[in-house]
Symmetry: C2
């Protein structure tokens, strides 16, 4: 996680902006332009998404260290949407951002290796090798055990990348399975957290965090606090701030006494800030910039308040 | 699951052929043709994959009821590979096959709904709606609880589709999390199985199986037998037969006294039958056909032996 933590420190900003471009979130003028130029199918949707994302990245790249792309909102637009995903990753990296591909992939052995190569490494082709997606980190689901994680970690080590394993997710029903008490007393999410710590042993960087991070939602502050204590070497990706109901003082539990330990993501509150603010929709990127600054202040103040 | 079960009965074949077209599995003449026509990048890889899959589908469509596409081996070739995935799904459906998209997707609420619309339903676009991937079923991971499952089931009901939730996977380390005993005595995979049965209540079809199926590996025959007893309403997708070590008499535990209850998948043993057989590589589709017939006989005999 060294590269990500270095960027968080440099920008004094432990937050990430989510790029989840469902068409209904996009300003009408962008949709109209795409429709004029590309018709009304998947190609037009993909063109609108790239326009929207490019402007957001331009407006945010000096403030935020990272963007998180939720793959579902690209796959929703078929392969054309996946092409927009690739174009967005490439543009964000060109602008110096750390790119988290929120894909929650999970599979066994050689198939997990294919996902790892696709998102974090390189693909063997007929003529040499190439980056298929070129992200800096992916989210993964650990239900299949180490077989499904180890290929990702090998890839992380080879290409200086990271993963975030789902531990305690931010949704209302996350407890249905994750809170089940296992024999020995821990709830399942804590057991998963311990596995992530085991899996990441040997991958600890200069800031004391492993390449195997964890996803822990800000909507469960009690568990976030408990997991921070239980898992000192694990860096947290914290969704659920903003629209999902997590507040800054909740998200602050992700951080240790040094003010490190997590990155808090917000998607809709930044992407759709222009609606919340009520500004001209042509200023959507400006509104996202203002909201990202507000969020940085909000989170940093909550971290400082917790320390003092 | 009625549509799938109807097709299994019609073809007297409870097996599916996996289309996992990693380039190294493809015959050299297909790769060379793609290279001549499309260079040596992702586009050439995608063209080779479509050629390979099309020939396999032609050779298998009269024998097998279903194909299973492992998404990782398409995403490995970037958006061009995802386009090959779409083209393959469309061709397989045109040939009357039931298409299982093995994507193991999982996410929360509205994001799960986006995945469901993308793979099983329709996508809202600027001008009406369209199918993004158009599969008949997807595999999903239930770690996030009902929030991540319910949007898929709603889509299944609207479009006559199905899902398979990971319960006990076929890989060596699947027990690391899945075998953890939970309070009350069950191992976690059985608890997950019970949740799948709960989630699928109200979606039971004419054959007595719910639209929420389960993935249970043939590599764990003891657990497969136990789960068949525990979950009478759940249809099983059974990977792990063939190269992974699961035998027909193991896979047979997926079936009930009526000879129903599961579909057994094999990927590499069918795709790469031409290598095993040692025939001319130009006869790869013929070899796949012969292996699919052998597998059908093998599985059907094991099911009959178990009944008697």
């Amino acid at each position: 996680m060294d590269r990500l933590i270095g960027m968080i420190r440099k920008k004094d900003n432990p937050t990430a902006a989510g790029l989840d471009p469902k068409l209904e979130y996009l300003p009408a003028f962008i949709l109209e332009k795409a429709r004029r130029e590309h018709g009304d199918g998947f190609e037009a949707a993909a063109a609108a998404i790239v326009d929207f994302n490019t402007a957001l990245i331009d407006a945010l790249c000096d403030i935020v260290p990272a963007v998180k792309l939720q793959s579902a909102y690209y796959e929703l637009y078929s392969w054309q949407g996946v092409k927009a995903f690739c174009d967005t990753v490439a543009y964000a990296r060109k602008k110096g951002l750390y790119v988290i591909a929120d894909v929650k992939r999970n599979d066994i052995g050689s198939t997990a290796a294919a996902y790892a190569d696709a998102y974090l490494g390189k693909t063997a082709l007929m003529g040499g090798e190439a980056e298929a997606f070129g992200a800096d980190a992916v989210t993964v689901n650990g239900y299949l055990g180490i077989d499904g994680i180890e290929p990702f970690l090998r890839c992380c080590e080879a290409w200086d990348k990271d993963i975030f394993v789902l531990v305690k997710t931010s949704n209302p029903s996350s407890g249905e399975l994750q809170n089940i008490p296992v024999v020995g007393g821990l709830p399942l999410y804590a057991k998963m957290g311990e596995l992530v710590e085991d899996w990441g042993e040997g991958f600890i960087g200069q800031y004391g965090f492993s390449r195997a991070g964890a996803v822990v939602g800000a909507t469960y502050p009690h568990q976030l606090k408990e997991l921070r204590k239980l898992l000192p070497y694990i860096f947290f990706l914290v969704p659920g701030y903003g629209r999902q109901g997590g507040r800054a003082e909740h998200a602050a539990f992700a951080f240790n006494q040094d003010g490190l330990g997590g990155i808090v993501n917000a998607s809709r509150s930044i992407m759709c800030a222009y609606r919340e603010e009520g500004c001209d929709e042509r200023d959507f990127a400006g509104a996202a910039h203002r909201e990202a600054l507000r969020m940085r202040r909000d989170i940093n103040e909550a971290i400082a308040a917790k320390k003092s």
